[in-house]
């Protein structure tokens, strides 16, 4: 996954300013930064939910922002988990998970169901298969959302503040699932304010401010040998609050 010189503005507001970023297969990267810094926008550009003005984003050698139908294939290889879960309320938990396998990969109903149940097992709520998303707690909903994103067997997972809308006691269960994923070697880009997770799980922290990558490094480098003033300020605030 490579981003080269990627820029994007909303009107006069430059949200991404010549972003260069490379993410290796199997690595887990946390993107941190103050709100409004462009972290989420960057994530949404990576799977083409948001158009870019300049630069290129390549995934597995293919340009994400080329024209044509190729984007659908690329998106099926990139899973995304949203802050607001975005489960489909008119479907059961199981149907949420089997939708993409059935519609995109044309898997059989049995195969889809088997895969969904396996994934529910993996995120720890196999008994919720036939429930409606509205009957689940926030943490459970987010775990279903993770299972749904995993159902097409993506090569890359994007997490857009996956725990920001959760009650504190539910954050743990979602982070645990994400930690297991990282340990299994899933390539992940995680936008989060959970610095405990960043320190413990990720290989690299990318710090973004005002649309620019200000600093990046291993968690140890980032927390203990912070170079830029902006990142120092941020780390201070996060750690001493």
């Amino acid at each position: 996954m490579t981003l080269a010189e990627v820029s994007k503005s909303f009107g006069d507001n430059l949200v991404l300013d010549r972003i260069d970023l490379e993410i290796d297969r199997g690595s887990a990267v946390v993107v941190a930064g103050p709100s409004g810094s462009g972290k989420s926008t960057m994530l949404r550009c990576i799977n083409g939910l948001e158009a870019i003005d300049e630069g290129t984003i390549r995934f597995d050698g293919r340009a994400v922002h080329s024209t044509g139908r190729e984007i659908y294939g690329i998106r099926a290889e990139i899973g995304m988990v949203f802050q607001q879960f975005n489960l489909f309320p008119h479907m059961t938990v199981l149907e949420n998970i089997t939708l993409a396998p059935l519609e995109v990969e044309h898997a059989s109903k049995d195969e889809g169901r088997r895969r969904a149940l396996r994934l529910l097992e993996r995120v720890g709520i196999p008994e919720k298969a036939d429930d409606s998303p509205a009957d689940l707690s926030g943490g459970q909903q987010q775990r279903v959302a993770i299972a749904r994103a995993l159902a097409v067997e993506p090569k890359l997972m994007l997490f857009d503040e996956p725990t920001s809308a959760l009650d504190p006691e539910m954050i743990r269960e979602v982070l645990d699932v994400m930690r297991d994923l990282a340990r299994e070697g899933m390539t992940m880009i995680v936008v989060t304010h959970e610095m405990g997770f960043a320190r413990e799980v990720c290989d690299r922290i990318v710090f973004i401010d005002e649309g620019r990558i200000v600093e990046q490094g291993t968690p140890d480098e980032f927390f203990n040998q912070t170079r830029s003033d902006r990142a120092k300020e941020f780390v201070d605030k996060i750690i001493h609050h």
Partner: protein, 220 residues
């Protein structure tokens, strides 16, 4: 009081055949209205400007011309222009196309009620835009607008009387009631039964839509 029951039992064949015609008129018009309404709503929310425009022209035309005028054009005007139109075609087409404009608008509002996040979640799974429309947006839009559709169907049942009352003169409940009235001069009694007939249809529709609402409600 006895006169009320008398007129009903004496003219039951007219009343029941009128009710049956009204029912069929409404049923066929409803199918037309839903099919055309979905199509027009899809045009209006499509990400292509000229398709939006076509949908918009349709809605503004059929919503802004009185149903009675549509009926006169279809049944009296078109034959004069060399296009023969039967009673049934004129009645069902006008009522159906007229109601379709309202259904399209209701569905459109339902589509806009589906959150951006829902669409993004579907796209992020690799679904194409048309598939997202079919599997995610429209099913939720339908569920959201069930109460509105119920009101439109009730309005359509009542509007159907215009078909029988106009020069199209389809032998529906209103037309039959007028014939009975001309026969008996018992205006209050016969129109009481006409009102009951329409109530049977509208209350059935109310219950049906209440069931649909209950059955398909989205809990968020």
């Amino acid at each position: 009081m006895s006169e009320l029951w008398e007129v009903l039992s004496e003219h039951l064949p007219e009343f029941s055949s009128g009710l049956w015609v009204t029912f069929r008129l409404v049923a066929i018009s409803f199918v037309i209205a839903m099919a055309v309404g979905i199509l027009i709503a899809a045009l209006r929310v499509a990400p292509v400007r000229w398709l939006n425009r076509i949908g918009g022209i349709y809605v503004e035309t059929f919503r802004n011309v009185p149903l009675l005028v549509l009926l006169i054009i279809a049944f009296s005007g078109l034959p004069r222009a060399g296009v023969p139109v039967s009673q049934w075609v004129a009645g069902t087409a006008c009522l159906g196309l007229y109601t379709a404009a309202y259904i399209a608008e209701a569905l459109r509002s339902g589509v806009f009620a589906v959150g951006r996040g829902q669409i993004e979640a579907a796209l992020s799974l690799g679904l194409s835009y048309p598939r997202t429309m079919r599997r995610i947006i429209l099913p939720q839009a339908f569920r959201t607008v069930i109460p509105a559709l119920g009101s439109l169907v009730i309005a359509m049942i009542k509007n159907s009387a215009i078909v029988g009352g106009s020069l199209v003169a389809l032998p529906d409940l209103l037309k039959q009631t007028r014939e009975v009235q001309a026969d008996t001069f018992q205006t209050n009694e016969v129109f009481f039964w006409a009102a009951v007939g329409y109530l049977i249809l509208t209350l059935t529709a109310t219950l049906a839509f209440r069931y649909l609402e209950h059955r398909y409600a989205i809990r968020r």
